[in-house]
């Protein structure tokens, strides 16, 4: 059996990329993403430990987002994500739990920098203040007229916003974000994930 080919990003245009800058846009579409659904308030929800609107970092760098009531997006290194998903196996079988690999269905972009909220204000009507969208916050919103899931994950650096959208919109949204960030000196980072 031949080895699986490399992941093809939805962002196919070429950009001058930068290894760093005060405001960065990075294509992380290749990052593993799973969608988990379970009963709100059930044992699986307890294991996911990220109520709707919040998130947590799990072992190995996996990131668990409470994207909707009874729904979670798990993203990060493939092994770490697999471990989080595997952790659901022990849940009582009477509870209805499903998980599916969403890696190919969703584009993922990272916007990093202190000016990121000002940039995102141009394309999204969310309140990006620390009070309403603190580190760890998860929301769904229209970004440049595309329905997206959004999570704030600052890590040790400046504010970082993870923006997930349907893969087919990926190139359009990437360009819309570049346009929004232009006035703040946005640089395009090397793809990661």
């Amino acid at each position: 059996m031949a080895e699986s080919p490399a992941f093809e990003s939805p962002v196919v245009r070429s950009y001058e990329s930068s290894s760093g800058g005060p405001l960065m846009l990075t294509d992380a579409s290749a990052t593993t993403k799973w969608l988990v659904r379970a009963e709100t308030g059930g044992a699986a929800a307890d294991r996911m430990d990220a109520p709707f609107g919040s998130s947590r970092t799990a072992g190995g760098g996996a990131f668990v987002m409470g994207s909707r009531p009874g729904e979670w997006i798990v993203t990060g290194p493939a092994d770490a994500v697999a471990e989080v998903v595997a952790g659901l196996d022990g849940v009582d079988s009477s509870e209805f739990v499903t998980a599916l690999d969403w890696t190919h269905g969703r584009a993922l972009f990272l916007v990093t920098g202190t000016d990121a909220p000002r940039m995102l204000e141009k394309v999204c009507s969310l309140d990006w203040s620390d009070a309403m969208t603190p580190n760890g916050a998860v929301a769904s919103a229209s970004v440049a007229k595309v329905t997206c899931d959004i999570a704030r994950y600052d890590g040790d650096s400046a504010p970082t916003y993870m923006i997930f959208c349907d893969r087919s919109f990926g190139q359009y949204l990437f360009d819309a974000l570049i346009d929004a960030g232009d006035e703040f000196g946005l640089a395009v980072g090397l793809p990661n994930g």
């Binding site: 699986s4 969608l35 190919h104 269905g105 141009k122 990006w128 969208t133 087919s168 919109f169």
Partner: protein, 949 residues
């Protein structure tokens, strides 16, 4: 009126080291950096800037700011530019609007000769009859339409948009507004301060008082040191529900305009006061200006507004203007003090310039009349918040009455006082705004899942304990003992308003619409009070009794570009799109999708599929991943046919109907595992079907264990069609026996294709050919497509697009939901009655379909024109013989490359549905052609031997 440039003034905003050259009506002029268009022209001695709308009277500077109705000009291809506000730029081509042949010799000024016939309602009364002449009237009247010229070839400019959620928005950056912003920010609020003019400071900017300038410097420094976000040359254009504010920013560095949508927790209205013109004979003559205009011209732009002035003053602003004029060497011919009951009766002179002022029976030679007759309180934002300001005759202006608690007023809008008192009121307002904003913020955080959790109870709603501002007495000066202009934008005089009132239009709302007073670009800021006063006078009542019009958004006119903002037009593409573009695709827009229509010759693409093998990218095909033990129940509910016994590995076609029995969508669903299915929908129905499914699950059957996930673009979908499809697919597929017996029609397998694991492969297609539909993970979709293309070169593989597929599906007789069906097409009309299982317990649309089962319904049928070369336009009507009685229509029509003749699908009345029936098709050309209804939908391979191959 002789205007000229003064020497440097201590408060001027000019950079005299930067000279800007521009053109005015074709002639060269110079100004300085910091000039407005109007100030530069005034400094150069120009005193006529426009012609009035109706009478084409020469008009000069009136207020020298954004609101000046006489300073509308064309700049390049930009019409209706406010020369009193727009800063001068080098190279500007500025022209007067709607004049012919020139500003100074305007033929349309002949209108003024007929002025007494052009009273309010003239157009309504005159051009009603005869009705047949209206087109001519319209053409002629259009030439008199005011405003600049729009160049339809003007390139689109960048208009930006922004959303923001400040705690406090302060509208107006005069001293009170600045203090409010500073105090709110000091209390921890996020504050947005919006100023209409180019700089903060309000009236302090053009004050020549040293103490005022010291305060201004102090306020500016405090703002610089604060966290307040300041927007200048920006306007809060509207206040909507829950303090949803529209703000237009006109000076953004990268956009011609930016529309900001702000959700403020508290709005502070601090727009200051707007100086009100005085109504008297000749008040629109060039040379008659407000006191604020005089002070702005002198102190901001170093322009001497005249040589010999009469000052009509009823307040301190007028007094200060007189002092400024005197200081810069303007001879003060007379000061007429309105506080002493004195009045100006008329301004006389040539049509283009003031010569004398008549007051108290005396005629005073002068080229400048400065008027300080009172103030209009621009209560617009309060009106928009539901407040109904009340008129105070003692101060001759309106005051807020009872705005909602999240809208506060300060500054001149709230009352009068010393500068210190105004600042103190502003600061108290800012503190109150911050307190109330904190309560709103607490509430919002508590109710929003993602927000930072809040501690403690919601803060109490802070009471309004501000010390009210006073009210300085001011004489009621609206109209003198003569009539004059009330609305300078619309050329409406006090005589017109009196006449309107006498005609019965004595309600202010009616009179406004009848005369159009207050409806011009100034939006009532200069005219409203005088309009109401004129009507009150005509009715013999007070202003309070007459009431006022309700100011609605926008506070100031804004461009359509600003409203449109940035145009977001999302487009969707599949992973294979780059290949299509590189291979000569002709793209078709289908919803948001960019899809391959064809690659140059759709007919050749069809022939290749029928002969060899072709690939089509059908990624937009809707795909829903279904998981859970109750999926069969769900499918039985959604589809008209039965799903309880679909084995793993099998695929079944289904038709969905809405509750009214009308066809909603169709597609195939395959069982991938015990509790795992993949449903496909039409491409256009993908979103709607997902909502439909979720609606049933969430509202009707929340107890069912089914999870539905849209995976349309998680998979690239490639249909491999043609007699050589099996051979091609076999070359790149591992782990699946593709033989007809092992993998027959309407089955599904999990496969590895071109080294990509996790591909679903279906034995289905829309072309009527042997087909394998491969759904590969999108991140490897292009690789799979290219692998198939490479592997099939010797087989004659080629791409085909949507057009080729549409031809082949029509040859095969497959209908398309939404094209061959419509909003009235019931399930049985499709010819698929055997799939409507009325013996099921229940399904969506079952009662209607049970009713329909006993009815004769229009039917979808295959039709062939008797002349094989005639291809009717889609939607051509099927009629009875030579009559126009409609019996159906053509829903799809193409020339079939396979059959060499035209083929159609259509909907016909039941009496025509039998095979062999002759029908008449009325072509769009008007010609009638004969056609024959076929025995079955398929024009080609009706037995289905090829697709089962």
């Amino acid at each position: 009126m002789t205007m000229s440039r003064l020497g440097p003034q201590p408060t001027e905003v000019l950079d005299r080291s930067t000279k800007l050259r521009f053109r005015w009506n074709g002639k060269r002029f110079d100004g300085f950096e910091g000039d407005t268009i109007a100030s530069a022209l005034a400094a150069a001695g120009e005193h006529v800037f426009s012609r009035s709308m109706k009478y084409h009277r020469p008009r000069g500077i009136l207020t020298a700011d954004y609101w000046d109705p006489n300073l509308m000009v064309q700049v390049g291809d930009d019409p209706n530019v406010r020369a009193g506000n727009r800063l001068l730029e080098a190279g500007m081509d500025v022209r007067a609007q709607n004049v012919w042949p020139s500003l100074h010799r305007d033929i349309k000024a002949a209108n003024s000769l007929f002025g007494r016939f052009l009273t309010a309602g003239f157009y309504y009364k005159t051009f009603m009859r005869p009705a047949w002449l209206w087109p001519t009237y319209e053409r002629v009247l259009a030439t008199f339409a005011p405003g600049g010229k729009i160049d339809l070839d003007t390139p689109h400019r960048y208009h930006d948009k922004r959303y923001t959620h400040p705690d406090v928005v302060v509208a107006g950056a005069g001293p009170a507004g600045i203090e409010a912003a500073l105090a709110a920010a000091a209390a921890g609020a996020r504050v947005l301060l919006v100023e209409h003019e180019h700089a903060v400071g309000g009236h302090l900017r053009y004050s020549s008082s040293d103490s005022d300038q010291a305060v201004l410097a102090e306020l500016r420094a405090a703002l610089d040191a604060s966290e307040v976000e300041v927007l200048t040359n920006s306007t809060v254009t509207g206040r909507y529900e829950d303090n949803w504010l529209g703000i237009v920013q006109r000076n953004h560095p990268i956009a011609v305009e930016r529309l900001i949508k702000a959700r403020a927790k508290v709005l502070v209205a601090a727009p200051g006061l707007i100086e009100r013109p005085y109504v008297f004979s000749g008040n629109d003559r060039p040379g008659v200006i407000t006191s604020g205009a005089a002070r702005r011209l002198i102190n901001l732009w170093g322009v001497k507004p005249g040589e010999r002035a009469v000052v009509f003053t009823a307040n301190s602003e007028g007094d200060a203007a007189a002092a400024d004029l005197d200081r810069v060497g303007v001879e003060i011919a007379a000061i007429i003090d309105g506080r002493e009951g004195k009045r100006v009766s008329s301004a006389q002179g040539s049509s283009r310039a003031l010569g004398a002022v008549v007051a108290g029976g005396n005629r005073i030679e002068a080229d400048l009349l400065v008027v300080a007759a009172g103030w209009t309180a621009p209560t617009s934002l309060l009106n928009m918040a539901g407040d109904r300001p009340v008129h105070d005759p003692a101060t001759a202006r309106f005051f807020p009455s009872d705005p909602p608690g999240n809208v506060l007023a300060t500054g001149g809008l709230a009352g009068d006082g010393t500068l210190d008192e105004l600042r103190a009121h502003g600061a108290a307002t800012g503190r109150l705004a911050a307190q109330r904003a904190a309560a709103v913020a607490h509430r919002l955080q508590a109710m929003t899942a993602r927000a930072r959790p809040v501690d403690g109870d919601e803060p109490a709603w802070a009471p309004d304990e501000r010390t009210p501002l006073g009210r300085d007495p001011h004489p009621e000066l609206y109209r003198s003992d003569t009539h004059g202009m009330v609305d300078f934008s619309e050329d409406v005089g006090s005589k017109d308003l009196v006449a309107a009132a006498h005609e019965g239009y004595d309600s202010v709302e009616l009179a406004k619409r009848y005369t159009t007073s207050t409806m011009g670009p100034s939006q009532g800021k200069l005219e409203t009070v005088n309009t109401v006063a004129a009507i009150a006078e005509a009715r013999g009542e007070t202003i309070a009794q007459v009431g006022t019009t309700v100011w609605r958004p926008p506070y100031a006119p804004l461009t359509l570009g600003a409203l449109a903002g940035r145009v977001f037009e999302p487009v969707r593409v599949s992973s294979i799109h780059p290949w299509h573009e590189a291979n000569g695709v002709s793209t078709i827009i289908a919803g948001q999708w960019m899809r391959p229509d064809h690659y140059g010759d759709p007919a050749a693409e069809v022939r290749n599929v029928r002969t060899n093998v072709g690939l089509i990218d059908v990624t937009p095909l809707g795909k829903l991943d279904l998981r859970g033990p109750d999926i069969p129940k769900l499918l039985n509910l959604l589809y008209t046919n039965k799903w309880s016994k679909l084995p793993v590995g099998k695929v079944r076609y289904g038709m969905m109907c809405a509750e009214d029995g009308v066809v909603l969508d169709d597609g195939v669903t395959g069982r991938l595992g015990e509790d795992h299915y993949l449903m496909t929908t039409t491409s256009s129905g993908a979103g709607g079907v997902w909502e439909w499914v979720e609606n049933w699950l969430q509202t009707e059957r929340p107890d069912w264990k089914v999870h539905v996930t849209p995976v349309t673009t998680a998979y690239v979908s490639i249909n491999v069609a043609g007699p050589k499809a099996r051979e091609l697919v076999g070359r790149v597929t591992e782990g699946v026996d593709l033989s007809p017996d092992a993998f027959p029609y309407m089955e599904v397998r999990l496969a590895t294709v071109a080294g990509v694991d996790g591909c679903f492969m279906w034995r289905i297609g829309f072309t009527g050919e042997l087909s394998f539909e491969i759904h590969a993970p999108s991140g490897h979709g292009l690789h799979v497509w290219e692998a198939l293309m490479d592997a099939g070169q010797d087989l004659g593989v080629g791409p085909f697009g949507l057009e080729g597929q549409r031809i082949m599906r029509l040859e095969k007789g497959h209908f398309i939901v939404g094209q061959d069906t419509d909003g009235l097409t019931l399930g049985p009309s499709t010819g698929l009655s055997p799939l409507i299982k009325l013996d099921k317990d229940d399904f969506a649309g079952m009662p209607e379909l049970a009713w329909a089962a006993d009815r004769s319904l229009p039917m979808i049928v295959a039709i062939q024109p008797d002349d094989p070369n005639v291809v009717p336009d889609e939607a051509s009507q099927i009629v009875r013989g030579n009559t126009n009685e409609i019996l159906g229509r053509i829903t799809s029509a193409r020339m079939s490359p396979t059959l060499g003749r035209s083929i159609c699908l259509g909907q016909v009345e039941p009496e025509l549905a039998a095979g062999g029936t002759k029908v008449t098709v009325l072509l769009t050309s008007g010609e009638r052609v004969s056609a024959t209804v076929m025995d079955h939908h398929a024009h080609f391979d009706p037995a289905g031997e090829r697709l089962r191959g």
